[in-house]
């Protein structure tokens, strides 16, 4: 009945395959069109799920057995429940919009075919990750997105910095990949299954405290590295080296949301460890606050957005940690829409300013690019969670308000609320600097085609309107989201009555305070004495520099030791010296016999024959 689920990841995978095999014949234009069509087909299949069978009960499709050794059995099984349906909708549809936007954005760029290949593979990997019902299959998708992010961040590899940024992203997320794999090993050692749907009931039935603690910490590190949470966030600001569309894909539709998704998926595991969820909540709120403060001092338009991604992901983790995973997932959806919008719009802004990323050189763009201005403003509204008319007001503020009700939620609430002030601050600082004020003379005329305008318009509409799925409790209007997810994720704590009203009011006040802060910061920045001169904030609390100074050094030392000791002395001396010279000596000895004198060959043949006969006679049979 659901034997067509495999089509969802298969379409982008097929696109990548065709691109790899026949891309040369197709030419870059058709590579791009093909690559754009594939996620569109996937999203049509996803739409069919929404309209057709629904996900009660969850859809399952068992494709084949990947491997089976003893009681170790891995099936390639795709599973779509409510949570993964949200994820695959984002990955396929927002992914499709980003592909569409890339058509004009990257036209004539070098490596277009390579770009579309990795873009398709990226979406396919994310779809496998979200649809996997098996931790090992999930890990396959996890690694695929890691690989593609590396390749796409260093897309413009001819500049050494970009290649370095790609390597940094790869190595940092690699740490998390390794710990995730170790966590999976631990779970298998204890429970002898990797199928998520049968693992979680086992965990609940037979908890093994020490092992679960170790496994959940290891898996959490994996999620943190992938989702760029403190202190593994250092790869994300540097990943801005890639094209803006890649940033949009990494930050909105794929990759960084995988960590949050993993946490929601394995919530039963984390809940089985006492105190774990509280730690997740506090760390998430801390990351949200920390990254928002860094965003306030950045001058690169994309770095502002990079820190905002870290911060928004912090809110999602906070939502998971306080026991409101459905709100976390809601914010993931909202964030996916407005962050894809903001990144693609900022890509257009950068093109208009001739590859200049510095927002201090920009200004007054609203006069020349009204369409860009209104769509960008919609994204900024959503990022800042402007009350009533932005989606994040209904998702992010709901998380912050819910944390107030939870026992021990004081610290997350305080951090989250002050983070919200800073968020609105850096969001509107960015908007005021780029679009308001005097027009900058560095601006170049640029005409956006329909391929760029349509995705921006769709995402802008979603950034404003998608929050109306779930009004705050007690308000008139639809309350679809939380109840729809309740069978899967349970109901989050919801403030009602006077308390709820007050919390909502405080959240709205925080946003307006932040807008004022942003206006003030933008004015100071224009005057040349802005927050970007605070090295502490601009460098991200010096964390990146400190980590780069402390952590890689022992590894470099170890590598030098291995090269000097093992490689030079051992392998080179033995293999190159001993083996090579030995072979050369024996070869020259043998070559001496090959002298071309047929009579001598005859003699040696007969001597050999005699020797063999002698051996046979003297051998005791």
């Amino acid at each position: 009945m659901t034997d067509w689920l495999f089509l969802i990841p298969a379409f982008p995978l097929l696109g990548a395959l065709i691109n790899a095999l026949f891309g040369e014949q197709l030419g870059p234009r058709w590579c791009g069109r093909l690559a754009t069509a594939m996620p569109f087909f996937s999203s049509l299949v996803v739409l069919a799920i929404w309209l057709g069978p629904g996900t009660q009960p969850a859809l399952l499709e068992r494709l084949w057995t990947w491997m089976a050794v003893g009681d170790f059995r891995v099936d390639v099984t795709l599973r779509v429940d409510d949570v993964s349906l949200v994820m695959i909708s984002i990955a396929s549809f927002v992914g499709f919009l980003i592909h569409l936007f890339s058509q004009q954005y990257l036209r004539g760029d070098y490596g277009e075919r390579r770009y579309y290949f990795y873009l398709n593979l990226f979406v396919a990997g994310m779809l496998v990750l979200t649809m996997a019902n098996n931790l090992l299959l999930l890990y396959l998708g996890w690694e695929t997105v890691g690989l593609c992010s590396y390749a796409l961040i260093s897309h413009w590899y001819r500049e050494a910095e970009n290649a370095w940024a790609g390597r940094k992203a790869f190595v940092v997320t690699r740490i998390g990949d390794t710990t995730l794999l170790l966590g999976i090993f631990l779970l298998f050692a204890q429970y002898h299954t990797l199928t998520i749907t049968s693992l979680l009931p086992l965990v609940a039935a037979h908890p093994a405290p020490a092992l679960l603690l170790a496994a959940s910490i290891l898996i959490l590190i994996g999620a943190y590295a992938k989702s760029a949470q403190f202190p593994f966030h250092i790869w994300l600001p540097d990943s801005m080296a890639g094209p803006s569309t890649v940033s949009a894909l990494i930050h909105a539709a794929t990759m960084v949301t995988a960590g949050v998704y993993l946490c929601i998926r394995l919530l039963g595991l984390f809940a089985a460890v006492p105190g774990m969820l509280e730690v997740i909540a506090v760390l998430g709120a801390w990351t949200a606050f920390f990254a928002a403060s860094c965003g306030l001092a950045q001058v690169d338009v994309k770095r502002v957005l990079a820190y905002s991604t870290i911060s928004q992901l912090g809110y999602m983790f906070m939502g998971v940690g306080i026991g409101a995973p459905s709100l976390g997932l809601f914010h993931l959806l909202v964030h996916g829409c407005f962050k894809a919008l903001l990144f693609m719009a900022s890509g257009a802004i950068i093109l208009i300013y001739a590859d200049d990323h510095d927002i201090r050189h920009m200004g007054g763009l609203k006069y020349r690019q009204p369409f860009l201005r209104w769509t960008f403003l919609a994204g900024i509204f959503a990022l800042a969670a402007v009350p009533l008319i932005s989606a994040a007001f209904y998702s992010k503020d709901a998380i912050i308000n819910a944390s107030f009700l939870v026992a021990g939620g004081g610290v997350p609430y305080a951090l989250g609320l002050s983070g919200a002030v800073l968020t609105a601050g850096y969001a509107f600082r960015l908007y005021f600097l780029v679009f308001e004020g005097k027009p900058s003379e560095l601006e170049e005329p640029y005409q956006m085609g329909w391929g760029m305008k349509i995705p921006l318009a769709i995402l802008a509409a979603a950034s404003i309107g998608i929050g109306w799925l779930q009004f705050p409790p007690g308000w008139p209007g639809p309350h679809l989201w939380v109840h729809w997810l309740a069978p899967e994720l349970g109901l989050p704590p919801r403030p009602i009555g006077l308390e709820g009203g007050l919390l909502t009011l405080v959240g709205a006040l925080a946003t307006f305070l932040g807008i004022a802060l942003g206006y003030w910061a933008a004015r100071r920045e224009r005057d040349g004495r802005g927050l970007s001169r605070w090295r502490f904030l601009a460098s991200g609390w010096w964390i990146d520099g400190t980590i780069l100074r402390v952590v890689p050094a022992p590894f470099y030392a170890l590598a030098r030791l291995l090269r000097g000791g093992v490689e030079n002395l051992g392998v080179q001396a033995l293999a190159q010296g001993g083996l090579r010279d030995g072979l050369r000596l024996s070869a020259s000895a043998l070559a001496r016999g090959e002298n071309g004198l047929a009579s001598r060959y005859a003699v040696s043949m007969i001597a050999g024959l005699l020797l063999l006969l002698l051996l046979i006679w003297s051998w005791p049979l």
């Binding site: 002298n595 071309g596 004198l597 009579s599």
Partner: protein, 104 residues
């Protein structure tokens, strides 16, 4: 009876071997090879007579056909070698060895 035949075969074999070992001319090598064939043929015949088996004679016929068939192209090659290189000394046929190694 068979001992005599085997002794004759051994003698033939030894003569053939000696020819190949001592002479350098291709003609003598071919002669020697024919003698080796004939020694084997004699053994097959003698064995067939001793055990009253038809396969001995069959084998002998095969060996005759084989040595005849081998001899024809060998003689053709020999003529060709004589014409191209002007010598029949087997140690002169060293065209395939590497040039620089001019040892012995």
């Amino acid at each position: 009876m068979i001992e005599i035949a085997l002794a004759a075969a051994a003698l033939l074999f030894f003569v053939g071997l000696t020819l190949i070992l001592l002479r350098r001319s291709l003609v003598f090598w071919l002669l020697g090879a024919e003698l080796l064939f004939n020694a084997a043929l004699l053994v097959a015949l003698a064995g067939g007579a001793r055990w009253h088996a038809i396969s001995g004679q069959v084998l002998a016929l095969f060996i005759m056909a084989l040595s005849g068939a081998a001899l024809a192209p060998s003689l053709a090659l020999l003529l060709r070698v004589r014409r191209e290189l002007g010598t029949l000394n087997v140690d002169g046929l060293r065209l395939l060895r590497e040039r620089e190694e001019q040892d012995d």
